[in-house]
Symmetry: C2
Subunit: 191 residues, 2 copies
Amino acid sequence: MSGKAERTKELILDRVYPLFSKRGFKQVTMKDVCEVTGLSRGGLYSHFAGTGELFEALLGKITEKDAMDFHGEISKGLSATEILEGALRLMEDEMEHPEDSLSIAMYEYAEVTGSDVMEHFNRIWEEKWTALIRYGIERGEFSNVNVREVVNVILFSYQGIRMWSRIIRMEPETIQSVTGHIRNLLIRKDL
Amino acid sequence: MSGKAERTKELILDRVYPLFSKRGFKQVTMKDVCEVTGLSRGGLYSHFAGTGELFEALLGKITEKDAMDFHGEISKGLSATEILEGALRLMEDEMEHPEDSLSIAMYEYAEVTGSDVMEHFNRIWEEKWTALIRYGIERGEFSNVNVREVVNVILFSYQGIRMWSRIIRMEPETIQSVTGHIRNLLIRKDL
DNA sequence: ATTTAAATCGACACAGGTGTCGAAAAAGGA
DNA sequence: TCCTTTTTCGACACCTGTGTCGATTTAAAT
């Protein structure tokens, strides 16, 4: 009788996503999960040992769809500038709608459990941006910037905005002024 | 008998600073405060109604010493470059020792209570950096950058690093690569 | 030294979360 | 249909924090 259990697990994971994306990790209790799934405490615990295990399972399910795939896009013959524009648009979307993303929950999860999920994700994004900028410089589309510096600035201002948009009112222009800066840094104007 | 109460309040505020700076806001309980002050629950509550009020009092006491006073420094006849170097060093120090600062606690406090402390502080720093950069441009020391863009990048990457250094291992060079970028952005090399 | 008001104590009731367990219900193979 | 195994239920005991309050101690004015 394995079918039922699997289906229930799927149901739980589906229902629980908005909970974590909107509230973060710490603010989600098993009681909330009960309400949103219609299951009882006992029913829940026979699938997941707690919110930690639940969130890990959710992460495992989500991680696969990887939003920004430079290498794939490069091989599709896109220019560095085109890829950059796509990436910046993605960043803007996520920064303007932080409630749809698990980033904050991941941050809190890492904070609470000491897990290294964030180091993992951070490294992935670092590598991707590094690859993109190198590619753009090689092709002569981008200025010859210090790659390490610019990558760090991109990643940290991105993360800074994400965290801060939770607690201070953030105008879209503020976000766009940062992505605009990145664009100006990279794209050569002397062509 | 007003003297005693005042002294006890001072004692509490002194003892409680490291608690908030090291653990943030949410992770500090009245029990912790009891331990660190030697007072009992009742004794504490007759001074502060809870960790919220306690933290607010701490903020009020701290706010006065304002680390970065551009206008004062400008009137002392310092060059924009000198002020910038001082500010960057301050940023580096705080980013390398986040456990000595109340920033994280303030962030969490704002998150939990919906208070606008952070908006306030954010605006202050925004104004100060704006003033500094304009000053540097006027004096011909800084490049003619887009002020708004650069100020936002500075503030957000600063805040991003501060948040993230809590959960991922952060090399000093990483931090320096960001302050280095700011320096390169601003200081003219064509002189 | 006495008195009075302020400051402190610590036991208490409460709130909201956790994880458990035996009993009940549902699923699906025979 | 019946019987076994899986799944689900919800009451339970526990934990950790909160804020309160009458009793007690301490400070300082007279």
